[in-house]
Amino acid sequence: MKKTKKFGLGLIAAAAVLSLVACGGKKSESKSSNKDSYSAALVTDVGGVDDKSFNQSAWEGLQKWGKANDKEKGTGGFNYYQSDSDSEFEPNLNSAIDDGFKTIFGIGYKLQPAIESLADANPDTEFVIVDSTIKGKDNVASVTFQDNEAAYLAGIAAAKNTKTDKVGFVGGQEGEVIGRFEAGFVAGVKSVDSKIDIDIQYAGSFGDAAKGKSIASAMYKSGIDIIFHASGDTGNGVFSEAIDVMNTNPETPVWVIGVDRDQEAEGKYDGGNVTLTSTLKGVGAAVEDIATKAQKDKFPGGKTIVYGLKDGGVDLTDGQLNDETKKAVDAAKEKIISGDVKVPESPAKK
């Protein structure tokens, strides 16, 4: 009895130490060797800096900036704060402020309220909100992307490749940002052939792979052969379903169009790839760009910077597109850049 007690205590102690270590892993302390004291950090949206999407792209951008400017990861250089739930946005922003970072990036529109409330109390810190706008604050810059333009190109790719004249769209949560994807995609598909059916569904979450899988399953069974997902981790379920379909029934090919970064790896299976193409969002480039500007005291406070097709802020990958589709996509790209085609920003009301 006594022995088991000791053993039990040991186990718990070991576990406690392990979990402490696990928590400690996030913050590595190292002083910057650089002379100028400028430092930048980012607070992630829900998910890690390797979500193969938004957060990762932003972190890569910040790392690139850090390397170019000889900064080190940690306080005084550059770092990230991971949010595992919506309730961690404010504490994370506060820790970043306490650690003395000069510029703090909020990655994702969900951080908008937190930044808005903290900006006034911390006038010496510069904030950047990505994918949303905060107006009228000199220490807050806003970054938005014309995702609708990339989604338009995705729509063209889908319309050119569908064999069933039915395509699907899976969104995360309804709102301004995902609405841009929906509107662009619909406009792109209709620009090729207005008779193509588009099924639009929202999962109500960016982290519910099971629901993504159910939706995809229903869509594929109803004859849809291409799904464009703008739904974060929920999209993992869409990929998973597409791969399952291909493994059981390879004669009727189905495709997924990825979002925010090249999702080619997600679509791989024995015998092919279900990722038709992916829309790209240059979050990394934007973060890098703003950090560079801010370091030179040119922080675009109070302004909204829009990155679109024109400046490479958004794009579409080549993926498994055939030459004919690529040509159509390139033609549309030119038209958008020249201003001949205006892509709608919000979906038409039903």
Binding site: M1, T4, K5, F7, G8, L9, L11, I12, A15, A16, L18, S19, V21, A22, C23, G25, V46, G47, G48, V49, D50, D51, K52, Q82, D84, D199, Q201, Y202, G204, G207, D208, A209, A210, K211, K213, S214, I215, S217, A218, K221, S222, D233, N236, G237, F239, S240, I243, D244, V245, N247, T248, A265, E266, K268, Y269, D270
Partner: protein, 317 residues
């Protein structure tokens, strides 16, 4: 119509499979009198270890990998649930507190290990060998029924249903089950009759570790395809709800889990059914919760757990 039904059933099964396993695990634990709110954490650990096992052994075991990973996930679940067992049975800790510790520890530990194994990434690589879609030989050729239930469906879900039947048999028809239940109802009485109360409680918690770990392994290998912090997000708690909903009876518990899956997939599929798709989408999104409330109020009535559930048993008192 058959088409629509088959979509509803197959996606309900995919969704419920992990819930059934985990909820059955919870049933074993609570039948022995140990509340296990740590199911969520156990699932996380199971999901993580199954992912790692799958990734590193897929080249050796081929298409058997998912099943072996399932067992491996269950095994690690057992090891992890030992913490809960030791804390609640020997150290007399509050069950809720200990379970919460398990839940807090699991994501930290697994993400830390993920970072160690996958070059600092917070997400594992994507697994290659998955459960995919399964069609029963012969059964799938039965007209209508075969199409709905046995074609392109989820194999782990049928295993889960089988396990539920076995669990029912174990809990209500065997000596072990009787002892397990008596320990959960009245440990003093059981002890005076010479039943090893601590042993039974250990058995209950460890079985919940096994099944919870398997539940987590199913999530990875049939739904998400990789392990990350969002892989297990609430399924453990939904399983607990299914256990209570099913009145700690394996068959009802399974029914409750499938019901959750069904209402979820109805909400998804609703958009493709004529008439229903005229409704505002918000009605479909709240449907699973409204349905659950209605069924709970109208048909289930009072749900009463094992009597000594959650109480610490001290032998000498």
């Amino acid at each position: 119509m058959v088409e629509v039904l088959s979509i509803i059933v197959s996606s309900a099964l995919v969704y419920s499979a992990p819930l059934i396993f985990t909820a059955l695990g919870g049933t074993f634990s609570e039948r022995s009198g140990v509340v296990n709110v740590g199911l969520e954490g156990i699932m996380t650990v199971g999901a993580f270890s199954a992912t790692v096992f799958n990734l590193f052994t897929a080249s050796t075991f081929g298409s058997w990998t998912p099943w072996l990973s399932l067992l491996f996930g269950g095994l690690i679940g057992v090891v992890f649930s030992l913490i809960h067992a030791v804390a609640t049975v020997n150290l007399r800790a509050d069950h809720i507190v200990s379970g919460t510790v398990v839940n807090l520890m699991a994501p930290g530990l697994t993400i830390f290990l993920t970072k160690m194994i996958f070059d600092g990434h917070g997400q594992s690589d994507l697994i290659k060998e998955r459960f995919g879609k399964f069609s029963f030989p012969f059964l799938k050729d039965i007209p209508i029924i075969g199409e709905i239930f046995f074609k392109d469906t989820s194999a782990p879900a049928y295993v889960a249903i089988l396990v539920a039947v076995i669990a029912y048999f174990i809990i209500f028809k065997t000596k072990f089950g009787l002892r397990l239940r008596s320990v959960g109802e009245n440990p003093q009485a059981a002890d005076t009759l010479g039943i090893n109360v601590y042993g039974m409680k250990y058995a209950g918690v460890l079985i919940s570790g096994l099944l919870g770990g398997i539940g987590g392994a199913v999530v990875v290998q049939s739904i998400s395809g990789q392990f990350s912090v969002s892989t297990i997000a609430g399924q453990g708690f939904i399983s607990m709800a299914a256990m209570i909903f099913g009145k700690w009876n394996p068959i009802y518990v399974m029914g409750a889990a499938i019901f959750f899956g069904l209402s979820q997939s109805l909400a998804v599929i609703g958009n493709t059914i004529p008439l229903i798709n005229q409704l505002e989408p918000v009605w479909l999104q709240v449907a699973p919760y409204v349905l659950t409330l209605l069924v709970l109020v109208l048909f289930i009535g009072r749900s009463q757990g094992p009597k000594a559930n959650g109480q610490v048993y001290v032998k000498s008192k």
